[in-house]
């Protein structure tokens, strides 16, 4: 049974309440941290190898160490609870079931970074979770863990919940900051990075919910111990939200040494493909990361079993691999249509594009239209090449990664499932009533000698 650093107590009765959480060992990390130097806390996070759990996987300790500390200028910690990447619902789970874990992580991190006013930016649609978080904050305050001079440490700390209002782009840290300032969620050009000039032009760190929650076990057991869990540069545990055509969709906390095959088929996790169907494809890290056919998902191009960690999921680059991303694990069975699924994603990115950059604003709508034509039996073979061309011209040519996120699913779908696209073009009427099916997508891959 894998170590559960985050969700171990998630289903203890009453764990949403301060007294129960405290009884189960909660807020010990705050007591410990307040006796440390803020710099020492940053060092523990560095030693832990913790990587941003929102999707980019940037080393968190390093991000923290970039925070500028000019005299007399406030610094801000902002918790990114905007979770909107399709397939991802792990932050929601953590906040709903064990909100005090996040509050505790925020207090420790606020102290480490010198943020007296910390904001949780939560997507607007998680409307009922606002009350859960505010209740936890009020309880922590009543017990002296928030407010002025917390636990007599001399450190003032307030946490506020800030609602979004429906915009995936506000999960991008600079767009989030713009939104927090009361504006449209238009990403800013970087540099300057938020660590230098962020919220209200002050030095700011924006971190994902899971990242900040992980600070609690890191302080409790120490960065070195945390780093012993997992493998390579995939240390600690990871929350995976599994969905799609599996028997047991839900949120799982995993040790990153397990194989993808075990994650999909074991009863401890997804419990296999539902309804006796076969696995066709999977997007392992949220809709923005490349989709893989079953054979390349379960083994790398070299024929090695693929594991549920950053390095292994990226093995082969985009040619034959994918990414850990947000951990939104989407499983497609043999009856699913890759063209149709890609169309729904293209529609998503077109809807969510902020509109600043021409390649993204125009390209996302264009890709959606062409995919719609192909899906409805009105496409031409040249449309497939046109799609490839459009995504290539978006990638890397935008202010923020949403352009890349829109391009990558289309590129991966064509790269790995081109014959399914061609079948739609060549069978315009048949494709309206039948699926392309599993074809060769689960055939063992040929490993060159």
């Amino acid at each position: 049974m894998a170590t559960k650093l985050l969700l171990a107590k998630a289903h203890v009765e009453g764990i949403r309440h301060f007294e129960v959480y405290r009884r189960e060992g909660g807020y010990a990390a705050v007591e410990k941290a307040l006796k440390m130097e803020p710099g020492a806390i940053v060092e523990e996070v560095k030693k832990s190898g913790l990587r941003g759990r929102g999707g980019a996987g940037f080393p968190s300790g390093m991000k923290w160490s970039f925070l500028a500390k000019p005299e007399g200028v406030p610094r801000y910690l902002v918790c990114n609870a905007d979770e909107s990447e399709p397939g991802t619902f792990k932050d929601r789970y953590l906040m709903e079931f064990i909100p005090h874990l996040l509050i505790e992580g925020l207090i420790v991190s606020s102290f480490a970074l010198g943020s007296n006013r910390t904001y949780i930016y939560i997507r607007g649609e998680y409307a009922w979770i606002v009350g859960i978080l505010e209740q936890a904050i009020a309880e922590a305050k009543q017990n002296g863990f928030l407010g002025k001079n917390i636990l007599g440490s001399g450190f003032d700390c307030e946490i506020y919940v800030q609602r979004g209002a429906g915009a995936y782009i506000c999960g991008e840290e600079t767009a989030l900051i713009e939104s927090l300032e009361g504006k449209r969620g238009n990403p800013r050009i970087k540099p300057p990075f938020p660590a230098i000039k962020g919220l209200w032009d002050c030095p700011t760190v924006v971190n994902n919910v899971e990242t900040l929650a992980a600070v609690v076990p890191i302080i409790n057991i120490g960065g070195e111990e945390y780093a012993k869990i997992g493998v390579g540069r995939s240390t600690g545990t990871k929350l995976i939200s599994a969905c799609g055509n599996i028997n047991k969709p839900g949120v799982y906390e995993i040790d990153m040494t397990i194989s993808v095959e075990e994650f999909i088929y074991s009863d401890e996790y997804c419990g296999g493909i539902a309804n006796g169907k076969k696995l066709k494809a999977c997007i392992p890290g949220g809709s923005s990361v490349p989709i893989l056919p079953a054979n390349l998902l379960l083994t790398t191009a070299k024929g090695e079993p693929r594991l549920m960690n950053y390095e292994s999921l990226s093995d082969g680059g985009f040619a034959t691999g994918s990414m850990m991303g947000s951990g939104g694990f989407i499983v497609l069975d043999e009856d699913q249509c890759i063209v149709k699924h890609t169309l729904t994603l293209a529609r998503f990115y077109r809807h969510e594009s902020c509109g600043q950059c021409s390649p993204c604003r125009e390209g996302t709508g264009w890709m959606e239209k062409i995919l719609g034509k192909i899906e409805n039996g009105k496409g031409a073979i040249s449309d497939i090449d046109l799609l490839w061309d459009i995504q290539r011209k978006i990638e890397g040519n935008t202010i923020c990664p949403l352009g890349d996120a829109a391009a990558w699913p289309v590129a991966a779908a064509i790269r790995h499932f081109r014959d399914e696209f061609e079948w739609h073009v060549n069978n315009p009427e048949l494709c309206q009533t039948q699926n392309f099916g599993l074809a060769h997508y689960a055939d063992p891959i040929h490993v060159p000698a």
Partner: protein, 162 residues
Amino acid sequence: MVKFSEDKLKEVQSMIDRYPEGKQKSALIPLLHLAQEEFGGWLSAETMDYVGSLLGIEPIEVYEVATFYSMYNLKPVGKHVFEVCHTGPCMLKGSDDIIGYIKTKLGIKVGETTADGLFTLKTVECLGACGYAPMMQMGIDYREHLTEAKVDEIIAACRNKQ
């Protein structure tokens, strides 16, 4: 006449107090949610101008935000708004069929409101409930694991509330 009660204005002030001096514009997005709930479930120009006046910002600064974020309704909506997710992971689990069923049952297309003003149907992007698909948002709540039977129950319950 669009105006908050004294109690609501206290709530507005506590919202503004969350931010440093002079940064009250940061209250705009939460305040628009409050105004939408209070003034009929949508944001008229009058409502938006009122919100702007509370924060000391120009109307255009409110309009540009209200038109950017998808949760704000810029036209009147029905008493019960069904926001059904139709992104990839929900599509894999039959969201298209559920949307089709709701359209037939209520006799409206996506984006429309029933003639009696009770129901509005919207499709929305990923709500972070992919493991519990197909699903929709109704007001503050998520209604998950939808089936045709569940949809029937929800519609009946909404009608009975009248």
